[in-house]
Subunit: 257 residues, 2 copies
DNA sequence: TTGTACGTCGTACACCGTACTGCGTACACT
DNA sequence: AGTGTACGCAGTACGGTGTACGACGTACAA
C-alpha cells in the first residue's frame, strides 16, 4: 500500500481509468499472448463479491481467484483497486432503468428518480461506502444516469445551474438515507444482537445515559420515536419524511411565483 | 484483523464502550501497577492524529506511540479500534457550542444548528467517514448535542416524533454536504492535480464522454454549472442552495395551516 | 509476606495492496 | 521465414494493518 489513497480515479498516466470506462481502443495493444479474461469479467466478479459478502470481501486476491487468474494479473486489466471501484460504480449506473417521463409532473418524476436510486443503493448497500456525489467517475454509466435524471426536470422552469443543484440535492438525500439504513442494518447484523438484546445488556449504564432530568427532551423524544416505529431509527419513516421534505423544499423553488 | 468489522461499538462484554463513555467507576480495578496514561489522553492523541494527518493515520501503533506506550497497551484502555473511534466522536460532540436560543425563531435556530455542525465537520473532515447518523455511540457528548439541538425546535408545534425526524433530516443534509466537500477536497489534494490540469490531461478521451448529441442536457448543464462557480462542484453554492431547500422543506411542515 | 489480579510489552499471525522479476507467447519487422 | 520484443501471466516479497497470545513485573488484598 503506497499512499493512503482509499478511493477514486487516480494518476495512472493521464488517467487510464477514462480509457477503461469508455473502452478506448487505443488501449488495445496487439502484442503478446491473448488475454485470458476481460475487464468486464473482472468488474463483474468484483460486483458479485461485493453484493454477496460486502465491500470488505472485495480484495484483489479474491477478485483474481473468482475470475481465475493470479492476484497480480488483475493489474493488467485495471490499474489498481481504486480504479476497479470506479468501474464497478459506473457499471451499476449503466444498468439503471431510464423510463420515459411522458406527461408526468416534476414531483412524480423526482419521486421516481429518488426511488430508483434508493432501490440501487438498497440492492448494493456497499455503494454508499464508495460512491462520491461530487466527482463521480465520468464513465458512460454516470453520464447516462446524469442525463436521464436531468431530463426529469425538463420544463420545470429552473435555470441550468439550479437544475443541477436540485438534482444533486435530491441525490444527496437519497445517499444519506441509504447510508443510514446500511449502517443501522450492519449494527444489528454484525454484532449478532437485536435491538432489545442490546438494550437489555446495557441497561445498567444506560440508566445514567438516559437521565430525564439531565436530558429531558432527548429522553422523551427518543422514547416517543422508539415507540412510534419500533426502534430508535425507522428506515421507512425516515424515508417518507425525508422525501416529502426534500420535494417540498424543491417545490418552494420550482413553484414560486 | 479478525472479522471485517470496520466500525462502531461492538461486543466487548455487555459493552464496555458505554462504561468508557460514561466513565463508569465500576471499570476501575484496584490491583496491579498504576496506569501510565489515561483514556482521555489516548482519545486526544487519536483526535490530534486524525486532525493533522487524516483518519488513515489513526493506527493503533501511531496512537500508542503518541501517548508513549506500546501498541498493545492501548488495548488496556480501549477494547479495540472501533470503540476508540466512538470515543473520539463523542468527545468532539461534547465540545460543541450550545448557545441559548433566546427569542430567535426556528429558522434561525436551525440555521445555527446546521452551521455548527458544518463547522465541526469542516474542522474535522474525517468525521464524515466515521460518524453514523443513525445509531451514534450513546455517550454524554452525543446526548448533550442531541438535547441541545432538539431544544432548537421548542415551540415549533411539531410532535415529538416529527421533531426527531426533522432534526435527523437537517443533520443528514449537513453530513451529506460535508462528505461531498471532503471528497472533493481530497480529489484535488491527493492526486496533486488541479481541476484544470485534470481536465487538460484527459481531454482526448473526455471529448467522447462529453458528446453533446449523446448527452445534451448533461453537457450543457454541466458546463453551465462549471462556469457559474469555477468548478464542477462548488462547495459554497451547494451549501446555500441545500440549506435553503432543507429549511423550506421543513417550513412546509412547521408552518402549514 | 505472599498470592494474585492486572498493566505493559514483544512477538507473531493473517490479511491487505501492490512493486518487482522471470518467463513464455505471439505479433511486427526485416 | 526468422527473430526481436512488447506484452500477459504468475510467484515472491515488502511494508502496512488490527489484534491474539504469553512473559514479566507491579502493587494491592489476604
Amino acid at each position: 500500500m503506497t499512499p493512503p489513497r482509499t478511493r477514486s480515479t487516480g494518476a495512472g498516466e493521464p488517467s487510464r481509468t477514462l480509457a477503461l470506462l469508455w473502452g478506448d481502443p487505443s488501449a488495445q495493444p496487439r502484442k503478446g499472448p491473448g488475454r485470458s479474461v476481460t475487464v468486464a469479467q473482472v468488474v463483474d466478479a468484483a460486483l458479485s463479491l461485493a453484493d454477496e459478502e460486502g465491500l470488505g470481501a472485495v480484495t484483489m486476491r479474491a477478485v483474481a481467484q473468482r475470475v481465475g487468474v493470479s492476484a497480480m494479473s488483475v493489474y493488467t486489466y485495471v490499474p489498481g483497486k481504486a480504479e476497479l471501484l470506479d468501474l464497478m460504480v459506473d457499471a451499476l449506473y449503466a444498468q439503471m432503468p431510464r423510463p420515459a417521463w411522458g406527461r408526468s409532473r416534476w414531483r412524480s418524476r423526482l419521486t421516481s428518480v429518488a426511488e430508483s436510486n434508493l432501490e440501487l443503493l438498497t440492492t448494493h448497500p456497499w455503494l454508499t461506502e464508495v460512491a462520491a456525489l461530487s466527482r463521480p467517475p465520468l464513465g458512460p454509466g454516470v453520464m447516462a444516469k446524469y442525463e436521464h435524471e436531468l431530463s426529469a426536470l425538463d420544463g420545470s422552469g429552473l435555470s441550468d445551474v439550479d437544475t443541477d443543484a436540485a438534482l444533486t440535492y435530491l441525490l444527496g438525500f437519497v445517499q444519506s438515507h441509504a447510508r443510514s439504513a446500511h449502517d443501522a442494518r450492519r449494527a444489528t447484523t454484525d454484532t449478532a444482537m437485536s435491538d432489545e438484546q442490546w438494550w437489555a445488556a446495557n441497561q445498567p449504564v444506560l440508566e445514567r445515559a438516559l437521565d430525564p432530568t439531565a436530558y429531558p427532551r432527548a429522553t422523551r423524544i427518543g422514547a416517543a420515536a422508539g415507540e412510534a416505529h419500533g426502534s430508535a431509527w425507522s428506515e421507512a419513516a425516515a424515508w417518507t419524511f425525508g422525501l416529502a421534505r426534500t420535494l417540498d423544499g424543491l417545490a418552494a423553488l420550482i413553484e414560486r411565483d
